[in-house]
Amino acid sequence: MTTATQNGTRKIVINPVTRVEGHGKVTIQMDEDNHVTQARLHIIEFRGFERFVQGHFYWEVPVLVQRLCGICPVSHHLAASKACDMIVGADSLSPTAEKIRRLMHYGQTFQSHALHFYHLSSPDLLFGFDAPVAQRNVIGVIQAYPEVAKKAVLMRKFGQEVIKATAGKKIHGTGSIPGGVNKHLSQEDRDRLAAEVDTMLEWGVEGLKLCKDVTLASAEKLLPFGTFESNFLSIVREDGCLDLYDGNLRAKDADGKIIFDQVKPEDYLDVIREGVRNWSYMKFPFIHDRGQEKGWYRVGPLARINNCDFIDTPIAEEERQEFMALGKGRPIHATMAYHWARLIELVHSAEKMRELLADPDVLRGELTTTGERRDRGVAIIEAPRGTLIHDYEVDDNDQIRRGNLIVSTTHNNEAMNQAVRVVADQYLEGQAEISEGMLNSIEVGIRAYDPCLSCATHALGQMRLLVQLIGPDGTILDERTRG
């Protein structure tokens, strides 16, 4: 990190943001009196998704799109499969297919949330935002909390084993296909996973308690941290229940009033638009009726817990009620509450996996269904990081003519910018010197959203962090790297 002055104006650039996926860049413009005048998160988003799938046969897409991202391939695999369900006319999957897909999805959510909390976020929560860099990482957690860290490793492994058992393999899984799945869960895999799922649930509850205790113990600092009010978007089941795999769109405003509800996936363009800004490659989605300035929203665990009416698993529902009580009838807006909400979903995923692993339908039954073919398929799934939309049109040769994907991180684009602005105001305003801890605070605000900023190219030697100081005329005054 470095800062400098030119003509009394400083611009601090953090590039890329650490411990979020891919590369992002934060710029904070300060004037000669050390007032924050502008704070932005720039995301170098890859916009080649649509071109990438064009011309491919639709049945190739569920496998193909996994290659877009090495972090959440299962989410793309399932979203594309659901879109293809609509193309092949499979309006209702067989119980076996739906349950195996759900098991895959809960396995993905469980391992993703475990990684995010224990690996990426718990160092900030357990050691503080301004703890030494050498300690504020997963190795520091291992050394200070070895049992917690070991459970995190094994929870990750369990989730990956669920994915492997249902998707077939770690890279380019093929388990989910248009209209269903291509195989049952084997008896051996079912027995092996069922034998461990109670332990996973127990550890998940312990993790949730740790997160809750740490948050409440430092509530005066953590709950106002990077906090702002917003709308929220997610899918919910028809009865308002939390559903990570399937449902219709619901949006609530900052007071918790419904903006729209039960909007079917294929009608998402009626309620959502994508705006652009001249300083960012990434789009800024917003609720059409509210306009770009007031219609932006948040997605992900906090949005889902705020939006749903209840959760259909007992432990997670009890935890949801305790969580929502903090808002006294209004949605929870605290940025750091994302972690708490994420752990509620982790517990919910473990409860759901336990149900499914005890269900004989995953071992036998019809694998696929079909119906009347359509030229368009749209699907929405709640990926670990938030709402994920896949929208495809096919031609008469079954080839993809047009594709549109809106990923979770794009939905949260404006929200993450808001978080950067608020944290910059809270921590950097009036400060003549910028410390490592202050810079990390900015990153903590972004990390709460668990953004996936680019796809998983991670070659050895790749630069991890670049800090640039840019003068008012755009000249780079200084530059340092770390990592």
């Binding site: 650490t18 890859f46 092996r192």
Partner: protein, 163 residues
């Protein structure tokens, strides 16, 4: 690489592992998986192979099963055609994101599973990492050289008679 070591170490597999990271759809980032594919086609019983988009913390639970591990990844800075070096556990965590460095995975092996395999890391020089492109022609040349070197290394492990 299956088996959940929740109640202790997973079943011991006294053999060597070659593990690659990379996304085959990101140009030369697929060098590691491409080499794994070639190795798997040899059908040799003296080593096992695995590939994933990236290393992560849970890989430590699997790596603790092996006596020797060779990590393979594309490199944007290795001198062509590749760089091969031994690797020790490191507590120096990279400022990265959802992935973990090979040295950090070994450190987790040591701290949690009390066994650290001998380890090497092979960085094969890559040049372009764009989505949807196959390996570049220069990377293919490097891949051929790396494959030959890996075979030599695996043969030398066998000659040591430790497996």
């Amino acid at each position: 690489m299956s088996g959940l070591p929740i109640n202790g170490l997973p079943k011991k597999r006294p053999c060597n592992l070659v593990m690659a990271c990379g996304n085959p759809e990101r140009g030369d980032d697929g060098l590691g998986p491409a080499l794994i594919e070639r190795l798997a086609n040899l059908n040799r019983s003296d080593f096992e192979t695995d590939a994933d988009y990236q290393l992560n913390i849970e890989d430590a639970a699997s790596l603790a099963n092996y006596e020797r591990v060779l990590f393979i990844d594309a490199s944007i800075s290795a001198p062509p055609p590749f760089n091969l070096e031994s690797l020790a556990p490191t507590t120096e965590i990279a400022f990265t994101s959802h992935s973990v460095s090979p040295g950090a995975v070994l450190a987790i092996c040591h701290d949690h599973f009390h066994h650290v395999p001998e380890a090497w890391v092979l960085g094969i020089r890559g040049y372009q990492f764009d989505l949807g492109q196959g390996l570049s022609s220069d990377a293919r040349v490097n891949l051929d050289a790396a494959f030959a070197r890996v075979i030599e290394l695996l043969d030398s492990w066998n000659r040591c008679g430790k497996v």
